[in-house]
């Protein structure tokens, strides 16, 4: 790591994040990167783990997958790749292989953003091991099958950090499915995932992430996306299972002209979950556009914060921010914070936020077709959350629909 970055990280060691409960990092165990054995292929993970992986869209059989990376706690246990257009490998391997990779580290996410980024960097420096994955597509290539990456927490009280770098070279297209989950015996843990995306001219990345954590897990992903000219980035985030807390606010920087960003999130709050998720797009290149859409449902005692910040900083940019919520219990809460910032003429930005209840009229309509009130309500909630995900190749669209349906079954 560059000396400057390390110094910054040291200074930010105690720096609280702007949002979300402050997590005491001392409570967690820092396992070493060699703790878990390496595997040749994903199907070698134990049966129980395979079941967990399937629930977050990661296929242990690797059918119709261009490649796979699995990290268990701090160890990268498996990376396979069957594609000529893309490569996927552990960051520890990638940093050895490509000396230029350091130019992409801590550039899209600030190392001193908060204590979590700082902790990730300090751990890299102390151990000399960078956990996480590296994905790289070759210029002009197009891989229709998705790469799959899994962050798995297998041991109790573990602090998992990962530092992922994803680079799509000029005019290339790649699709990623990420599933994050915990083992059956794990109740509490901390996950910090730093992800840095770089989309060069004309590149396209779709990134679909499903989270299914144990009920006492704290999650602090930190994501930055640098989007070049004519590039497209689409993110789909799905979380419907109980978790202790999640706080994340991915930011897309769009200095490139005619870039396009889509953030879609499906959030189902259950039990005591505190979900604080947002997305931010800074439109700085002419002709760029962004759409940020979230659907949130709160049950039980859950608290959901749905944030969004859309900034238009040059002419001829467009953006829309949309956030719809259903509050299903009096003890739960949805807090929608859509922010628009325009600092140039000739731009168009809008937002739409609505929080409400299940419409009585809709329930009655369905009961008049023979559904019970409970069946009707659950059909309406699932319908409300099931967004049409656009921009994916047909096979992946179908797969994503299945992933969403599976996640919504628990709602």
């Amino acid at each position: 790591m560059l000396q400057g970055a390390l110094e910054k990280a040291k200074k930010a060691r105690e720096k609280k994040a702007l949002y979300g409960e402050d997590i005491d990092l001392e409570k967690f165990i820092k396992e070493e990167a060699g703790e878990h054995e390496r595997l040749n292929k994903a199907s070698e993970v134990p049966k129980k783990v395979q079941e967990s992986l399937l629930k977050v869209g990661v296929d242990p059989e690797e059918k119709e997958r261009a490649g796979t990376f699995i990290q268990v706690d701090q160890s990268g246990v498996c990376s396979t790749c069957g594609s000529e257009s893309v490569e996927i490998m552990g960051m520890n391997v990638a940093t050895e292989k490509y000396s230029w990779l350091k130019d992409y580290m801590w550039k899209a996410v600030a190392v001193d953003a908060d204590k979590y980024t700082a902790q990730t960097a300090l751990r890299e420096a102390e151990t000399g091991e960078t956990s996480g994955y590296f994905i790289h597509s070759l210029p002009g290539s197009k891989e229709v099958f998705p790469l799959q990456a899994c962050m798995f927490i297998g041991d109790e009280k573990v602090m998992q950090t990962s530092h992922n770098v994803i680079i799509a070279e000029e005019n290339s297209e790649l699709h990623i499915i990420t599933g994050c989950t915990t083992g059956e015996d794990v109740s509490s843990a901390l996950h910090v995932g730093v992800s840095e995306f770089y989309l060069k001219k004309g590149a396209k990345i779709t990134f679909t992430m499903v989270h299914n954590w144990a009920e006492q897990v704290d999650v602090r992903p930190r994501t930055g996306i640098m989007v070049g000219d004519d590039a497209t980035y689409m993110s789909n985030y799905i979380l419907t299972s109980p978790v202790r807390s999640i706080q994340t606010y991915p930011t897309a920087y769009c200095p490139g002209k005619n870039s396009r960003i889509v953030f879609q999130s499906i959030l189902g709050g259950q039990k005591d979950s505190v979900l604080d998720t947002g997305s931010r797009v800074l439109l700085e290149g002419e002709g760029s556009s962004a759409e940020m859409i979230s659907r949130a449902v709160s049950k039980d005692q859950s608290q959901l914060y749905a944030r969004g910040h859309l900034a238009g900083r040059t002419q001829n940019v467009k953006g829309h921010l949309e956030c719809h919520g259903l509050v299903l219990s009096d003890d739960s809460m949805i807090y929608a914070v859509p922010e628009l910032e325009g600092s140039s003429t000739e731009l168009e930005m809008s937002h739409e936020a609505a929080i409400g209840k299940i419409a009585e009229e809709e329930v009655q309509y369905l009961t008049s077709r023979g559904l019970s009130e409970e069946e009707a309500a659950s059909m309406i909630v699932r319908g409300f959350l099931s967004m049409d995900i656009t921009g994916l190749p047909p096979e992946l669209a179908l797969e994503t629909k299945k992933m969403i349906d599976m996640s919504l079954k628990g709602m």
């Binding site: 419409a359 009229e361 809709e362 009655q364 309509y365 369905l366 009961t367 008049s368 077709r369 023979g370 559904l371 019970s372 009130e373 059909m379 309406i380 699932r382 319908g383 409300f384 959350l385 099931s386 967004m387």
Partner: protein, 255 residues
């Protein structure tokens, strides 16, 4: 011939938000019979439908509703529907994210994971609704005609024994009225001989246009929350065409 009664409403009074909206309602519909419900705007036609369906807002303060010989007055909507009551709404609500396709599966008793059955697919085509249309969120952005066709299609999936149609012909062009009437006739066993019909219907119509294509056995006129008269649909329609519902008001005074 003695017709077996399918629906029997005795001395029914209904309140909505504390306000009396229906009173002294008497209605008997035999197995295989089709009745039409006429009446000016605001006379309580749709209210009677919702009361028969058992929507929570419609509080029965007196009387009873007997269906297939069983008192259903205290059953909820789901239970009534499961006994064989169906309805096509005039302005059904749009439900975001709930696909017409999935609703059809539920209504025809199919698991949601399965492909829509070939019979249902064929019926959809008959109603001029293709696969792409079935993938749409139910009633969201449907045109007037599409709403009606989707409502009738859902009834074809449900196969109820007693069906209420709320203005199935309003806002529909002639070509589509014929198409809808064809299927309504199938739903009501009209292709069978009178004595062999088992399905019954109650139709609300404003203009009576649909009656050119669907034969009704009896017409009932609802005025101010009461049934003013019942009789031959042709005669009553003719009177209403000539003098409007004015004549019915006169009739009410006599009774």
């Amino acid at each position: 011939m003695v017709v077996k009664l399918l629906l029997e409403i005795n001395d029914l009074a209904v309140e909505v938000n504390g306000k009396q909206v229906l009173e002294d309602i008497e209605l008997r519909i035999g197995e295989g019979e089709t009745h039409v419900l006429l009446g000016p705007n605001g006379s309580g036609k749709s209210t009677l439908f919702m009361s028969i369906l058992g929507f929570p807002k419609y509080k029965v303060t007196n009387g009873e509703i007997i269906f297939k010989g069983e008192d259903i007055t205290n059953l909820n909507t789901t239970e009534r529907v499961k006994k064989g009551i169906g309805v096509s709404f005039q302005n059904p609500p749009a439900i975001r994210g709930v696909k017409l396709m999935d609703l059809l599966k539920v209504e025809s008793g199919q698991p949601i994971e399965d492909e829509l059955s070939p019979e249902m697919m064929e019926l959809s085509y008959k109603m001029k609704l293709d696969e792409r249309f079935l993938e749409r969120d139910v009633n969201l952005g449907f045109s007037g005609g599409e709403v009606k066709r989707s409502e009738i299609l859902q009834l074809l999936a449900q196969k109820p024994d007693f069906i209420m149609f709320d203005e199935p012909d309003s806002g529909v062009d002639i070509e589509n009225v014929v198409l809808l009437a064809e299927q309504i006739n199938i739903l009501l066993d009209k292709h069978k001989k009178t004595g062999l019909r088992q399905k019954s219907g109650l139709l609300i119509t404003h203009l009576g246009y649909i009656l050119n294509f669907v034969n009704a056995d009896t017409a009932n006129v609802l005025m101010d929350g009461r049934i003013a008269c019942s009789g031959s649909p042709a005669e009553i329609m003719e009177d209403i065409r000539k003098e409007g519902f004015k004549g019915c008001v006169e009739c009410c005074k006599v009774h």
